[in-house]
């Protein structure tokens, strides 16, 4: 009996090793392990043996069965690999893939959605407001009365008021998304954390880093006890995220004092120019740094204008130069690339 079992094992294993196709293996499996297979039949004979022999023979039979099964599995695996290899060899796998017909989202959209997400994680809500704006929200509510010299830094496009009730000079294309500060603050009480992405317009000659239409992400945070260090921390975190900072791509930022009538203290944020890595180029006006995010603690007059008590609540506000951020992130050396609908540009994103 033991001898027969060994024979079964040997012949099965040698047949398995010789097999060239899956089909042969299936046949071998059937011939040995199937319901009328040789091993199956042999194992049925064990019950006919004397009692004292059965455990040993039984153990042996099980070992034989396991060996055949293992060998089969190995052989099957090996054959599968070989067959797939042969199939691949029948085609030239270096031919190009057939690309699905999928378009591209504009880089501005991609960075904008990232900004919305990053700010959402910091508890900021998102708003959207009018581009056709009144002088009041764009300037006066922001502590920039008529005849204030700060208006020179934001040359304005005025809308034609003929055939309308508006008086000339009152209705403008907003020069900054900060116009939304007053609109939102006058309707709700703090705590507030809001961002407002949007397009702005200025009477400005176009060059590599300036456009008469450009995007900003306005933001403000107002609560009891909002501090300047919170502003620095928020800017630092957000810009590093949005510039895609990684171990191989270090972002350098620096802060400087500046003046906007609607903040005090006023902060300007500069980022090391990525176009030239700080060596100086046309984009950064040879300075190695690019102004990216003006900000500051909200001026008490702005808070007072919407009825907040500036002794009780404080806040910070900022405006990310989104158009410039996008160009800096992707090392594009001209802002105008963003409004150029050339698919050779768009398909890179």
């Amino acid at each position: 009996m033991e001898e027969e079992l060994m024979q079964i094992k040997n012949s099965a294993v040698s047949m398995i090793i010789d097999a060239q196709h899956q089909k042969e293996l299936e046949e071998i499996k059937l011939a040995f392990l199937g319901r009328t297979g040789r091993l199956t039949l042999a194992m049925k004979q064990i019950t006919k043996l004397p009692l004292e022999k059965r455990p040993d023979v039984g153990r042996l039979a099980n070992e034989v069965k396991k060996t055949i099964e293992d060998t089969l599995r190995q052989a099957q695996g090996k054959l599968l690999d070989q067959e797939s290899q042969t199939r691949r060899e029948k085609i030239d796998i270096t031919n190009p893939g057939v690309t699905p017909d999928i378009g591209h989202l504009h880089p501005m959209t991609q960075v904008l959605y990232e900004a919305v997400d990053v700010f959402k994680s910091l508890g900021f809500q998102t708003a959207d407001g009018p581009e056709i704006e009144t002088d009041y929200y764009n300037f006066e509510a922001l502590n920039i009365p008529k005849d204030h010299p700060a208006r020179d830094t934001q040359q304005t496009l005025y809308l034609d008021t003929r055939q309308s009730q508006s008086s000339p000079g009152e209705i403008i294309l907003r020069t900054q998304t900060s116009s939304m500060q007053g609109r939102i603050m006058e309707k709700v009480k703090p705590p507030l954390r809001v961002i407002v992405p949007g397009k702005n317009f200025r009477y400005e000659q176009v060059d590599t880093s300036h456009g008469f239409e450009f995007w900003q992400v306005e933001g403000f945070c107002i609560d009891t006890g909002v501090r300047l260090t919170d502003l620095f921390g928020t800017i630092d975190y957000v810009l590093r995220k949005l510039m895609g900072e990684s171990a191989s791509r270090r972002i350098k930022l620096k802060f400087a004092t500046t003046n906007f009538p609607f903040v005090e203290p006023g902060v300007d944020t500069y980022i090391r120019c990525t176009v030239c890595s700080g060596r100086g180029c046309n984009f950064c006006k040879m300075s190695g740094w690019s102004e990216i995010m003006p900000a500051g603690m909200i001026h008490p007059n702005v808070l007072k204008a919407v009825g907040y008590d500036s002794q009780k609540v404080t806040g910070f506000a900022f405006a990310i130069g989104l158009s410039r951020l996008v160009t800096l992130r992707y090392q594009m050396d001209d802002l105008r690339l963003l409004t150029n609908p050339d698919l050779r540009i768009l398909e890179q994103f």
Binding site: G123, T126, E131, R183, F212, R227, F232
Partner: protein
């Protein structure tokens, strides 16, 4: 503003390298735009913020450097110090007294300081003076003009010297223009003055356009012997309006519209007179005129240490705060607690109640005395910025806002998720996104047969190319399509952007439009994309009328803002049917003009057991419809279906003369 390092060094010893100095100045608020080496000197180019007229002077910049480097300032030494006294100056020789009759109004000319100097000799300036002016981009003219210019750039108060002999009638009337007056400036250019400019008239002519430019007739020239030197404080708003109306800017007007140092006129005049006597000779020939309604003295401003630390988020030691304020010459004095409370309790009750619980030691109040050249320091927060900027913004730690996460609905809220969904969907359908300008030109409108009269317009466009606010995205999409023609055969483009609707400003309405153009998809493919997009957004709109077939390809456009209002992203699961449906295809013959949608509606509305009907194919007058019958609770029998079918066929024959194809 240009500032040579050599000139700055006359007032302050700086030990930093030019590069470091530029960086530090930028950090404290005087943005260094450029540092150039010229011969043996370094020229800084600064951009000055609107709140700091004092930084339009060399001494002002030197004071910033002194504060940064904790160094003293060396003011120029004067032999003669003019005194604001009603009596004649002690330097005045009584024999040659001269005078002018001044009529002014502090409302339009807050301060009029002046003096007459006699027996001067007008000539070329000494080399040191010419070189200094050249370094800051000023053209030397003659010693008198150069000195007035020099002192303006040195101290920040604009000065003008009139030829005394040419002031007809020896009268100077400061008044507002009525509009239309003719004025010829020192450089020989004639202007028609706007209304409400401030001018000085003598008996006959306008001899000065105040705060902007001096007049031609009374300018100092070769033969001038006697001059009247005027150092004014002008009304910032009037100067700004006149300068804008004329499109005429000068170094003086830049200073005045930001707010000149009101307390600095006599000091500047003294410096000017000293230099004139030294360089052009002559002697003082009149009393010191100083016509004003106010004293223009330094003012007090308080800073609470607790407020400083609360706003900045760091605790700066009192000693350090005092040190910084001292370096800025703000003369800080620590007031005791009692005094502090007395001063604040009336003004600010809320603060008093807040601070009551606070630590006594932290409740310290520092009182500063603000020099008149710092007219930007008006409220406590201004002093907080002073401390912060000199402490150095880049030395601050970084924290994140603490406190509540706001959750209540804000006005103007926008959910970007829907927009993102729509854009990603179009991307998946092969469309690439473009961003184009909102401003378009008249020709573009005409090409789309849009009446420019009914499109919102900018009054002062950057150029005619960008004059109108787009009422559609079609124009820029077609342009983008053609721009890509040379490089791409298949083009699928879309834009989601604002358009500006309404015939005039009263009706003006902004809306987001979603538009696209393609030459790689036909009408029905585009329709299918929009149908599926609407389904994705839970909106039941028929896109058939949103699509246009152009020569170039297929174009679609719709009001995305409208869709946004109706988006419904809520989903509810419908259990799968337990019983199999009966499906059949009916081939029908009917007139080609009959609309498929009418047939489908007729069939589907016929019986509630019909759950779906669709057009399978169409050829000439034959159309095959795919019909699904289903009962939710049991199996349908073919007899039931046959009955429904025959009724449908009967109805279709009656209504549409449609026949079952044999």
């Amino acid at each position: 503003m240009l500032a040579p390092l050599s000139w700055l060094k006359e007032y302050v010893d700086t030990t930093l390298s030019p590069k470091e100095l530029g960086e530090r100045l930028t950090e404290v608020g005087l943005s260094t735009e450029k540092i150039t080496k010229v011969d043996d000197d370094i020229i800084f180019e600064f951009e000055t913020t609107p709140n700091r007229p004092d930084l339009l002077s060399i001494i002002g910049i030197a004071r910033e450097i002194a504060a940064i480097e904790q160094k003293p300032i060396k003011y120029p030494k004067l032999k003669i110090n003019l005194k604001p006294s009603p009596h004649l100056s002690s330097h005045l020789s009584s024999g040659s007294t001269k005078s002018v009759l001044i009529k002014t109004d502090p409302e339009i000319n807050p301060r009029f300081t002046g003096i007459i100097v006699d027996n001067i000799k007008v000539g070329k300036s000494p080399n040191w003076l010419k070189e200094k002016l050249l370094k800051i981009g000023q053209r030397p003219i003659n010693n008198i003009v150069d000195i007035t210019n020099y002192v303006m750039f040195e101290l920040g108060n604009p000065i003008h010297a009139f030829d005394y002999e040419k002031i007809i009638g020896r009268t100077m009337d400061v008044e507002r223009t009525k509009g239309g007056e003719l004025f010829k400036s020192v450089d020989g250019i004639s202007y028609h003055l706007p209304k409400d400019a401030v001018i000085i008239k003598d008996k006959e002519n306008v001899i000065d356009l105040c705060g902007i430019k001096g007049g031609f007739k009374s300018k100092t020239s070769e033969g001038t012997k006697t001059i009247f030197i005027r150092v004014p404080v002008e009304n910032a708003i009037l100067i700004r309006r006149a300068s804008q109306a004329l499109g005429l800017r000068s170094d003086a007007s830049s200073i005045f519209e930001r707010g000149v140092n009101k307390g600095g006129t006599i000091e500047a005049l003294s410096r000017c007179v000293n230099l004139i006597l030294e360089i052009a000779g002559g002697k003082i020939a009149s009393k010191l005129y100083d016509i004003k309604n106010e004293d223009f003295e330094p003012w007090k401003l308080k800073l609470r240490l607790s407020r400083l630390n609360q706003i900045l988020g760091i605790t700066i030691p009192e000693k350090k705060v005092i040190g910084i304020l001292n370096s800025l010459n703000l003369l800080p004095v620590i007031l005791n607690r009692q005094l502090a409370e007395k001063n604040h309790s009336n003004k600010n009750r809320s603060f008093a109640s807040l601070s009551g619980a606070q630590d006594d030691i932290r409740e310290r109040v520092i009182e500063c005395t603000i020099p008149t050249y710092r007219n930007d320091l008006i409220i406590e927060e201004n002093l907080i910025e002073e401390v912060a900027r000199l402490y150095g913004y880049n030395n601050f730690p970084k924290t994140m806002p603490i406190g509540q996460m706001p959750i209540k609905q804000i006005p103007y809220a926008k959910d970007y998720k829907t927009e993102e969904k729509a854009k990603n969907f179009l991307k998946a359908c092969g469309f690439s996104e473009i961003y184009t300008y909102s401003l378009i030109n008249e020709k573009d409108l005409a090409e789309q047969r849009l009446n420019p009269q009914h499109v919102l317009r900018v009054d002062n466009p950057v150029s005619r190319e960008f004059e109108y606010l787009r009422p559609t995205l079609k124009i820029s999409l077609i342009k983008a399509f053609f721009q890509n023609k040379p490089n791409f055969t298949k083009k699928n483009l879309f834009e989601l952007g604002k358009v500006y609707l309404g015939k005039n400003l009263d009706e003006a309405k902004e809306a987001y439009f979603l538009s696209g153009i393609t030459n790689a998809k036909n009408f029905f493919e585009v329709k299918g994309i929009l149908e599926r997009l609407f389904e994705e957004l839970g909106v039941k709109d028929d896109p058939s009328n949103l699509i246009e077939i152009l020569n170039e390809g297929v174009f679609f456009e719709f009001n995305f803002s409208d869709i946004l209002k109706r988006v419904n992203l809520q989903k509810k699961f419908i259990p799968l049917p337990k019983y199999p449906p009966i499906i059949e295809d009916l081939a029908l013959l009917m007139h080609e003009k009959i609309k498929t949608i009418d047939i489908i509606e007729e069939i589907i509305n016929h019986n509630s057991l019909i759950v779906d009907v669709s057009l399978l194919d169409q050829f000439e007058d034959s159309r095959t419809f795919h019909i699904v019958y289903q009962h939710k609770e049991r199996n349908l029998t073919s007899e039931e279906v046959a009955t429904i079918r025959s009724r449908i066929l009967k109805a279709l024959e009656e209504k549409f003369k449609a026949k079952l194809k044999e």
